[in-house]
């Protein structure tokens, strides 16, 4: 009952109840209810991972198809909607080949590490005021830290395969992802300055009277663009897919992976894309917050008719589409050009942007009320 109530009156409801909150609240009165909430959280994250994998891969193939004057998958199920299921089954049944000279333990651990890093991010993303596993008070810091682990998986995978192509791919990945993490973090910091909180839900709630992308006096827009570019590089997608570089490195770090382990790398790439889009939507586009204009009460009522989850998913889907658009339009950059873009262009702009934002926040030099 409580759940439905919050869903329908979400416009007014800014008090957030996460699954972790519910579990800890119920722990004294009803231990089983508490356990139920915890299991619910686990199952929902697991289910989300699986559903995201299937939906995003299907979406990518369909979008790629229509970009390339063709239809994409059409055979398995109506309009090929079961294609990903069939592909997943194929990957599950495939022989799992491990190179004879590979470092077996690391070769086994690498895809798991890569997937774990991405799944951990899903736990703190606020999907709606009531749909969140836990709202840690250092939310965005946690996201940056955990997603940084993903590079370990890719580096390990490249190293342990004992293949020169994989090694080159892994090394490229390490150099690229660590570099671009700096820019991503710098643009995240701008939003933290304005929202004056690290909690993801706090950041969403601070955008009640307008999204940060245009409310942060220009610095928000710059930070958004930098964040999108940096996260494209962090999730290894074209034009920054040089660690994989299928026409250069024949698959890069996952050259020697097959079957389920390859599926893990593949899945983590897509979950990563979702996570990056979700974080960008949360920070810059108001997360689950509907589109509000201060003073226009009727308009605000209409926009809040749409449930917050749909607002969140819509924004995220839009950003995912942009990532896919990049992929099917751009050629690939070269390693040194990639590094030049980060260290000589994005990083200085990011720093100047951060300083500008800090000056605006500190001096309260606002052109319009924040």
């Amino acid at each position: 009952m409580d759940l439905i109530y919050t869903m329908t009156t979400s416009a007014a409801a800014t008090d957030v109840i996460t699954l972790a909150d519910r579990a800890s609240a119920a722990v004294d009165t009803n231990i089983w209810l508490s356990i139920l909430y915890m299991v619910l959280a686990l199952v929902s994250i697991g289910a989300l991972t699986a559903v995201l994998g299937i939906v995003l891969i299907y979406a990518e193939r369909k979008i790629a198809g229509h970009f390339q004057c063709r239809l994409g998958p059409m055979r398995v199920g109506p309009h090929g909607i079961l294609q990903t299921v069939a592909d997943t089954l194929k990957l599950l049944l495939k022989e799992d080949v491990v190179p004879a000279s590979a470092d077996k333990a690391m070769h086994f651990a690498a895809p798991l590490m890569s997937l774990m890093a991405t799944v951990l991010v899903l736990g703190v993303i606020p999907y709606s005021p009531i749909l969140q596993v836990t709202d840690v008070n250092i939310g965005i810091l946690y996201v940056t830290a955990v997603s940084g682990l993903g590079v370990m998986g890719i580096l390990l995978g490249g190293w342990s395969s004992n293949n020169k192509w994989s090694l080159v791919g892994g090394m490229r990945a390490a150099a690229q992802m660590i570099s671009y993490e700096i820019s991503a973090t710098l643009s995240v910091l701008v939003m933290v300055l304005f929202a004056s909180t690290l909690s993801l839900n706090g950041i969403v709630q601070s955008q009640e009277s307008g999204w940060w992308i245009w409310r942060a006096h220009g610095t928000g827009l710059v930070a958004f663009v930098i964040f999108i570019i940096a996260s494209t590089a962090e999730i290894n997608r074209t034009p920054f897919d040089i660690p994989e570089g299928e026409s250069e490195l024949t698959g890069g770090f996952h050259t020697e992976y097959s079957g389920l382990r390859f599926a893990f790398f593949f899945l983590s790439e897509f979950i990563n894309m979702f996570a990056a889009s979700a974080i960008a939507a949360t920070l810059f586009l108001g997360g689950w917050m509907p589109f509000y204009i201060e003073g226009f009460e009727t308009f605000n009522k209409i926009t809040s008719l749409l449930p917050p989850t749909l607002w969140f998913l819509g924004k995220t889907a839009f950003l995912i589409f942009i990532f896919m658009w990049f992929r099917w339009t751009f050629p690939r950059l070269r390693v040194d050009q990639l590094m030049r873009l980060e260290w000589k262009i994005l990083l200085p702009i990011g720093f100047i942007n951060l300083i500008a934002a800090a000056v605006i926040v500190l001096t309260k030099f606002y052109f319009f009320p924040v």
Binding site: Q68, K164, V168, T329, F330, P331, R332, R334, Q337
Partner: protein
């Protein structure tokens, strides 16, 4: 006496370890199975990190002994083997053998045959360059370009299919004429395709040429100077991009090229970008050539010799060549007076162009190797034969 020819094992001596803390150079096998090989070309790279120090191409993985097989086939049968060399310019390969045989046997070709041959060859040049454009896009990571080029390739393929009956291995141009006459609606269809391709070449330009990433990847990369290109025997767009206006269609006109006005597109620096743009521009020039010829194809028979007769060449050595989409394809025939060549040699453009990578790739990175190899437009069965 020391051996001048070194074996591969002698070349591939593992670099000595330079000691603690320093980096070591290493060998990397690029191919025979590699997406950039476009077939089976093995390229051994000596790398320092990602920087290329040395490039050793090892052709021979698609060697089918076409030249040897030719010694056991008569001159009409040889034609269908040439389709299998540079499969993207099969008609021009046919033409090269046909011209050599015609020159040796003294067969006079009428204007109709020359016109049809020229139109077909230029259509194929457009098709070949369009496919190359897509493959270059794919090699550099823009997969969408590849499917766009295949879409357009099909449309030209349909014209070939209607007239010739085949799309890839066409076996059309024979000594003494062409296999089949053109269909009545050939002119109208070709005109339609030309109008379409004109728009598409513009689309190629807007889709890929203007892209800043593509320009970054191609401009100034892999510079092949004119002098070096000549010394390596590079021909075709690779040579013209280096700045030398050497095009057999202009230098010693054959077919109906004399009747058509067209420009020889020349690059300025010889980098990958010049090789890219020379081909884009050549597509426009080919469209121009066909447009001038398509309206007045002269009347006459399409085969001047009797069809089923064996052609016997007088004793002697004969050489003739044509400009294919990749460069000069020369055919050398040593005849002992019979209906089969005693020895036949192809001077294939891809073979000479391939060696350019050994000179221009060192110093660049692995990713540049992709751009360089792709911009040379190598067709591996043409290298190995």
């Amino acid at each position: 006496m020391t051996a001048i020819v070194r074996t591969l094992d002698e070349i591939l001596i593992a670099p000595a370890h330079p000691g603690r803390g320093a980096t070591q150079e290493y060998f990397l096998n690029m191919g025979p199975q590699h997406p950039i090989a476009h077939g089976s070309l093995r390229v051994i790279l000596l790398l320092d990190g990602e920087t290329i120090r040395k490039v050793i191409p090892v052709p021979g993985y698609v060697h089918r002994g076409i030249e040897k097989m030719c010694e056991h086939l008569n001159y009409r049968q040889i034609i269908h083997l040439t389709d299998r060399m540079d499969y993207l310019s099969a008609l021009m390969n046919n033409w090269a053998v046909a011209r050599t045989v015609e020159k040796a046997a003294g067969i006079e070709i009428n204007d109709r045959i020359e016109s049809i041959r020229t139109i077909m060859a230029e259509l194929q040049r457009i098709q070949s360059h369009a496919l190359w454009w897509g493959v270059l896009g794919m090699d550099l990571g823009a997969f969408t370009a590849f499917l766009y080029s295949f879409r357009d390739r099909e449309i030209i393929g349909e014209i070939f299919e209607e007239t010739i009956g085949a799309r890839l291995t066409m076996n059309y141009i024979q000594p003494g004429g062409v296999m089949y006459d053109i269909t009545p609606d050939f002119t109208a269809k070709v005109k339609k395709v030309l109008a379409y391709m004109k728009r598409m070449v513009e689309e190629y330009d807007t889709l890929l040429s203007g892209n800043v990433i593509l320009q970054e990847r191609l401009r100034g990369v892999g510079i092949l100077s004119e002098k070096r290109a000549v010394s390596l025997g590079c021909t075709g767009p690779v040579l013209r991009a280096a700045g030398l206006a050497y095009d057999l269609r202009k230098v010693e006109p054959y077919g109906a090229y004399e009747k058509a006005q067209f420009d020889v597109v020349v690059g300025t620096t010889g980098d990958c970008w010049d090789r890219y743009y020379v081909r884009i521009e050549e597509m426009r020039q080919s469209i121009r050539i066909i447009e001038q010829l398509i309206d007045d194809i002269p009347a006459g028979p399409t085969m001047v010799t009797k069809f089923n007769t064996k052609i016997k060449l007088p004793v002697g050595r004969y050489y003739n060549h044509v400009e294919t989409a990749r460069g000069v394809l020369g055919v050398f025939i040593y005849s002992d007076g019979g209906d089969k060549p005693y020895r036949l040699h192809f001077r294939s453009p891809s073979f000479n162009n391939m060696w350019a990578i050994t000179k221009i790739a060192p110093g660049w990175r692995i990713a540049d190797m992709i751009a360089i190899q792709s911009s040379l437009d190598l067709v591996i069965p043409d290298i190995d034969r």
